[in-house]
């Protein structure tokens, strides 16, 4: 037995047996890792991933109409757009609405339909309250008598298109689109706000990222080259924005940036400007504040990469004949690209989601996508639309991350 085992060890194990052994060892290692990570994985799944997925699902969720108007949804199946529906459809609607009498669901339904057609809420409320309790001769005439709107196909079209369990209504709205008589169409001018919102969000994020890079890169370079004691001081200065509360920061901005603020006073005193600049409640304010908040996120990854660059490389380049500018262009800059990529990704992604800071120091025309998500979630209680905007924000981030990854390599986007 002993001998045969040893023989196997020498001869047979190498091909099949060895692989099994290695795989078993790896599996054990993997299980250990899994066990160690389980708490954090469960935490993240429960409190982060699942809520986000649930929230994202709201962008296509359409529970209200099919559950509150079940008969109407069925009856509308045979209705063709453009005409006024027949008596059975009216009867089904009257019956559905009658069932909602006195229930808070009527308001819910009204609010939901009002997202699609302004005025729908009033129509539903009035119809529900005015519906006679008794059997009516003609549901169509009764409803038309309560409100003429029921003879307008627009309201029926909305009902039909929104009668499924799943809806594309919110996603389309978030792209300034709607379902009209002739299929998907653009919404009218003053209602189309979202496309320009994405544009503004991207523009602001790009601008803030570029400014952070422009300001942060030299700072990081100085820090990386400084003596440890000096570098630590600079690092604390860079980190101060992390440590101050939003409230303190905002107050500081107001003191500094308002028309009567410190910056304007100093510039006026120096004669650089003849009348105060407007630095708050406009785009400039948003940029100043966001760059201020996000600068550390640029400096830290760039700094950590710069610290890892051996000065010997720079000396080597100089000894090979490169003047300081060439050394920077051909050696230093390329070696810092991983840090720059990581910093830019971080700042860009973070700025895409900013909303408190622009809300505090921006004008009405400077609000970004995050502001609208918050608005639709908290004020307008249109979670479907908030969630649809969230979907596109996520998509935007995903696409940009992929593009950047393709451009500079995914391994370089990591913050280290």
């Amino acid at each position: 037995m002993q001998a045969s085992l040893e023989m196997m060890g020498e001869t047979e194990i190498p091909k099949m047996g060895l692989r099994t052994l290695v795989r078993r060892a790896e599996r054990r290692h993997f299980m250990t890792m899994l066990a160690l990570m389980a708490p954090s994985v469960i935490f993240v799944a429960l409190l982060f991933v699942i809520p986000i997925l649930l929230f994202l699902f709201r962008s296509v969720d359409n529970a209200e109409i099919p559950t509150l108007l079940p008969k109407t949804a069925v009856a509308l199946d045979t209705w063709r757009d453009g005409e006024i529906p027949g008596e059975p459809v009216f009867a089904a609607l009257a019956s559905d609405l009658h069932a909602l009498k006195g229930s808070p669901d009527a308001a819910l339904l009204g609010r939901r339909l009002n997202f699609a057609v302004p005025g729908y809420r009033r129509l539903i409320t009035r119809t529900v309250t005015s519906l006679p309790g008794t059997q009516m001769a003609s549901a169509k005439e009764t409803l038309a008598a309560i409100d003429k709107s029921w003879l307008d196909p627009v309201y029926w079209r909305t009902l039909k298109s929104q009668s499924g369990r799943i809806t594309d209504f919110y996603l389309l709205s978030a792209l300034d689109l709607q379902r009209g008589a002739g299929g998907i169409e653009k919404v009218s001018g003053e209602q189309a706000i979202f496309m320009s919102l994405y544009g503004r969000t991207l523009y602001t994020a790009f601008g803030v990222t570029a400014l952070c890079l422009l300001i942060g890169y030299p700072v990081a370079a100085v820090m990386a080259a400084a003596r440890p004691a000096v570098a630590n001081w600079l690092l604390s200065l860079v980190l101060i924005p992390f440590w101050t509360s939003l409230l303190v920061r905002t107050t500081a901005w107001v003191v500094l940036l308002q028309t009567e603020g410190l910056v304007n006073k100093v510039l006026l005193q120096l004669g650089v400007i003849s009348e105060p600049l407007k630095l708050m409640f406009n785009t400039a304010g948003v940029f100043i504040a966001m760059v201020h908040v996000l600068l550390p996120y640029m400096i830290l990854p760039v700094y950590s990469v710069m610290k890892g660059i051996s000065p010997v490389h720079l000396r080597a380049a100089a000894s090979l004949g490169a003047n300081p500018a060439t050394v920077f262009r051909t050696v230093y800059l390329p070696l810092t690209i991983p840090g720059v990529a990581a910093g830019c990704t971080l700042v860009f992604v973070l700025s895409l989601g900013f909303y408190v800071t622009p809300a505090l120091v921006g004008g009405p025309g400077d609000q970004m996508i995050g502001y609208f998500i918050a608005y639709f979630t908290n004020s307008a209680v249109n979670w479907g639309l908030a969630s649809a905007l969230g979907v596109f924000l996520l998509l935007l981030i995903g696409v940009i991350y992929l593009a950047l990854g393709k451009l500079v390599g995914f391994d370089k986007l990591k913050v280290r």
Binding site: H313, V327, L335
Partner: protein, 374 residues
């Protein structure tokens, strides 16, 4: 005590390629790291700066490369004052200890770098990069990244990069320090061959005396910011000018005692146990001075004849088998670290601890220096 050694024969009259004149360097304004350095480097020679860690070798080399500015003094390159010239305008090739290959470039791009900087045409660059790669036996590695090469290969690439723009002068700062012994010996050989083929002046820094002895035309021994001796390897080994050089270069037995008699060419010194030995005085010694005798193990004979000035009997403390030889550690004159080497095979190699053997050496092989702090 800068000793000016004879320059290698034919170059003796030529203007040196490099001249350090009265160079001093301090980083902090208090301690001089390099003290009064006067050094001529001869065109085409292989000069080694040898010394213990911290003796100022790298500092000296970096002043020559232009990365450090001398606190005082001037440095001439080909007769031109380059003391304050920035490194990129010196045209000196430098090989660093940790290779310093650019990690974001392939080996080929690394070697092409100095040519690219100089605006050499693409075809010419390609030709010369290929030539350089062949020269260091890395022909197949042009497309690799530095991280994909072994230490020895990286050092070869770094060497090719420092040579490809054909500098007259190449500086190497412990270039083989990170390699294992076998690879280091092979690289020493290759480097020496390159030096002979290219006829380029090389200044080489090392703390390894064997490396210095095998490779150099001349060696400058550094200690405490000063050149202790500048000489050919043989001269340095045979005629060390002071105790430091004697001890730092090659193996050395050290015997400390008091001078009891001074003659024309020899001094007599009484060791701790009363034994009196004779040696050649290098420093001026007077009766009563404390002195240290320095003696190479291979100069100690186990079959001393009467012509030897020093013959004595010494007990064996330790027997160490070295393969090609056996080392005997003897007790001589109170010192318990007196080492003698006998080639194998030899019957005496079976010597047992405690046995006494007769040893002897000539007074001319034994050099007496004044003890540093007396």
């Amino acid at each position: 005590m800068n000793a000016i050694a004879p320059l290698p024969s034919e170059a003796g009259t030529a203007w040196p390629i490099v001249r350090f004149a009265g160079v001093r360097k301090s980083y902090d304004g208090e301690n001089l790291i390099v003290k009064d350095l006067d050094l001529d480097i001869v065109r085409g020679e292989f000069l080694t700066l040898l010394g213990p860690s911290g003796s100022g070798k790298t500092t000296t080399l970096m002043m020559l490369a232009g990365f450090e500015i001398p606190t005082e003094g001037t440095i001439l390159l080909g007769g031109r004052n380059i003391t304050n010239l920035p490194p990129h305008r010196r045209g000196i090739g430098v090989v660093f200890q940790n290779y310093a290959l650019f990690p974001h470039m392939t080996i080929g791009q690394n070697i092409a770098y100095p040519l690219r900087i100089r605006g050499v045409t693409a075809t010419e660059t390609e030709r010369r990069v290929e030539e350089a790669l062949t020269m260091v036996k890395l022909g197949a590695f042009a497309e690799r990244r530095p991280a994909q090469l072994s230490g020895g290969q990286q050092q070869r690439a770094a060497l090719a990069r420092a040579l490809v723009f054909r500098p007259e002068l190449v500086l190497l700062d412990e270039p083989l320090g990170a390699l294992d012994k076998q690879l280091r010996e092979q690289m020493q050989y290759e480097l020496k061959q390159l030096h002979e083929e290219l006829k380029v002046t090389m200044v080489y820094v090392t703390h390894d005396q064997t490396e210095a002895l095998t490779m150099s035309d001349r060696i400058a021994v550094f200690n405490d910011g000063r050149i202790q001796q500048l000489a050919t390897p043989a001269d340095l080994y045979e005629n060390p000018l002071n105790a430091f050089v004697a001890e730092f270069v090659g193996e050395n037995n050290r015997l400390v005692g008091d001078v009891v008699d001074t003659g024309l060419s020899a001094v007599s010194i009484r060791l701790a146990d009363g034994t009196v030995v004779r040696g050649k005085a290098v420093d001026e010694l007077r009766k009563g001075d404390r002195a240290v005798l320095s003696l190479r193990p291979e100069r100690v004979s186990l079959d001393p004849t009467d012509s030897f000035a020093n013959v004595l009997s010494a007990p064996v403390e330790k027997v160490i088998y070295l393969g090609d030889a056996t080392r005997l550690i003897l007790r001589v004159g109170g010192s318990e670290e007196f080492s003698v080497k006998i080639p194998n095979p030899d019957d005496r190699a079976t010597m047992m601890r405690g046995d006494a053997i007769r040893i002897g050496w000539r007074d001319t092989d034994c050099r007496a220096f004044r003890l540093a702090n007396s």
